[in-house]
């Protein structure tokens, strides 16, 4: 499974970006840079990642730095999948 591609699809869908999200790179800034990513969207994103990828996110994991960029989020998901 290509984690980053899967992640971009989920981001694009959850934030209703209409395909724009599929062009994101590791360096694309998320939190604070994308207005659609409010607290509601962060929770939806976490839930969708849990449901689709079968990972479990702990309350401790919900941290601003995790959602800073596509790269930080991909690393976080990758770590969960590898765990």
């Amino acid at each position: 499974m290509d984690t980053q591609r899967e992640l971009l699809q989920i981001l694009d869908e959850v934030l209703s970006l209409g395909g724009r999200g599929l062009g994101f790179t590791r360096d694309t800034a998320l939190l604070g840079a994308i207005p659609e990513l409010d607290s509601m969207a962060v929770v939806t994103l976490i839930t969708t990642l849990e449901e689709r990828l079968g990972i479990t996110v702990d309350d401790d994991d919900i941290d601003g730095s995790t959602f800073a960029t596509v790269g930080s989020l991909a690393d976080f998901v990758g770590g969960k999948l590898g765990a």
Binding site: V14, S16, L31, G32, T48, D60, I62, G64, F67
Partner: protein, 297 residues
Amino acid sequence: MPEAAKAGAHAARPHAFFLETRGRGRRFALHHAAQGQAGRVPPRAAIVHAHAFGEEMNKSRRMAALQARAFARLGLDVLQVDLAGCGDSDLEWADIGWQDWVDDIAEAAAWLGSRVDAPLWLWGQRVGALVATAAAAQCGQLAGPLGLLFWQPVLQGRQAAQQFLRLKAAAAAIDDGGAKAAMAALRAQIDAGHCVEVAGYRLPPALLRGLEAATLEPPPAPPGPLLWLEVSPRDTPELLPASRPAVERWRQAGWQVQARAVGGPAFWQTTEIEDAPALVDASGHALAEALAERVVA
């Protein structure tokens, strides 16, 4: 023909009213009467809708309305009810418990069942599926087996509650605050029996605890037909992995289960309001099929 279509559209408008509960105030309700080509017809089934929870309900309003109208055009009666504390219904969030929602659906089903001579169905979306399941246990003994239609059901109320409380953690994370500390403070408040305020909702412990205890297991009620529908954005839609064992448990309990996923966006949580027309079509087809099987049986 455009004139006739216009007249038809007008006739299909739902009847809005307040449903009187037994001593628990009024609930706002929309009754969509079964429509034939020339107006109202005797319905082939009577369906009560149990909506989703919190923001998911708001985002699903449009799809629920589209589906209710589509059902009416298929000759089915639909009753949409705003549960206690939601929409224009009575009671403040701080005053409701989980059992209020279950009673709301059971009483709505009794109301519709007493007016319509047709099989009764409960249609629950997300957390609404948990409410419908509990209500089925409560009113299933009255009128023989009920039918159930689930839209993307929540399997564990505990997960839905956690998601809701996480809004607080997410807000704290965005503000660079301590998400963990925010969650711990919330939990302490709930354990102490206080209401907690999340995303503008004032949640009482009686609602949270009931939600957390709810699971999507076959209720102690006569088994009937169960239509389990999910939406998936994948090219080849399939049920969520967690749903499969749950579906199997309903089958083993004697329910006649049709479970499938159709393509479409997760409209109950997307940032923009979106439509999933394939879900509306699939719901109509599956229900018509289940009703036809009933007649043959």
